[in-house]
Subunit: 220 residues, 2 copies
């Protein structure tokens, strides 16, 4: 029971450390760079020892997704619903830009960690308190989240900097002959010329949805 009697095992790993290192790996190299074996290597441990702290790779991914959701600014339940939805959406976008691997598992895994439950509860709560019915609140959340996910996903996959943009355009445009795809060709040309306006466009679409929700709510 004295400190010196501490057993010889390394005692280095915890679930939190495993999840944190997995997120660091995914941040650095993307999801396809994350394997249990590489993760173990990064932690200086054999692959199998990970299974003492996470049940498997699926559960690890769920935990990573939940850790991402934990970072978003959830609505305050008594706050102005529109301001709160706006703040949450902007925060989600920012978090998804920070963890560029997260959009896909966030969309594609039906997971329910503590942070996700908390955020969903707060979001529905804010909308219901503002006067939406439960089904309406459920739909409103879906509409907003679909926008955020879809947009974030695009932003992650398209080149942001002007040079990258130009390069991608010149790599892409030849595949779109004006004779066969006149509208697509012109759209690509205009987009290739425009400067990047990520947040503006994001907020534009977001406000479109919020307008729709407001009208919908008042209409009934």
């Amino acid at each position: 029971m004295s400190p010196a009697s501490k057993p010889p095992q390394r005692r280095t790993l915890t679930t939190d450390k495993v999840v944190a290192e997995a997120m660091r790996l995914a941040d650095a190299e993307g999801l396809e760079g994350l394997s249990m074996r590489r993760l173990a290597g990064a932690l200086g441990v054999t692959p199998m020892s990970l299974y003492n702290h996470v049940a498997g790779k699926e559960e690890l991914l769920d935990a990573m997704v939940d850790a991402v959701v934990a970072q978003i600014d959830s609505p305050e339940i008594d706050g102005d619903w529109r301001a709160m939805m706006r703040r949450r959406a902007l925060s989600m976008r920012e978090v998804l830009m920070r963890h560029r691997w997260a959009s896909i598992p966030l969309i594609s895994r039906m997971t329910s960690g503590a942070a996700i439950l908390r955020d969903t509860n707060a979001t529905l709560g804010c909308l219901v308190t503002a006067g939406f019915t439960y089904p309406q609140a459920d739909w409103a959340r879906n509409a907003i989240d679909n926008h955020v996910y879809g947009y974030a996903f695009q932003e992650v996959n398209y080149p942001v900097d002007p040079e990258g943009y130009k390069a991608a355009a010149s790599r892409f445009l030849p595949r779109i002959p004006a004779s066969e795809y006149p509208f697509l060709h012109e759209a690509a040309r205009q987009i290739a010329e425009a400067r990047y306006d990520g947040i503006t466009r994001f907020e534009f679409g977001l406000d479109l949805i919020l307008d729709g929700l407001e009208a919908w709510k008042d209409a009934e």
Copy 2:
């Protein structure tokens, strides 16, 4: 040069057959059931012979996604934009229900097969012809597609039949104590009770977006 001189090779495989069998496999067992080796087995061939017809698994997935997109009713360029966007969205939903594995790769791969280029060209063309600017048309398509993808994805992952619904709810509700997540708990309860109204909800959200686009278009 006579028919009898036909060489002994089986000559069974073509790219189209490989893609078609891959889709059948994915339809039946999901994307995680689709491996190059299993696909080869289903075609009665060694894994390596597939590489004579597709460059690799990534390209195979791209081809599968394009084959899915080829099935959707693209807009007619001179048609009423709202009716055409509506028809396209309903068709996309239907196709994504038929190929339940397709939502995720359709969202997450930045691919540009012939069918995708064609559909994008037709969609932008219809909107631009109706009076949207190119950037507006681009955004409009994104908004609609995000809705379709997000919704289809949900519909694929949630149980449709009442029994499955009930089972999922009773498996889920205990994880959501009313004390900690009062709003989420009540939402889950109401949703668990409601009968499934997939298409209605889909069209509701779609019309919300189309209303927003119409207002937006008229406003400038």
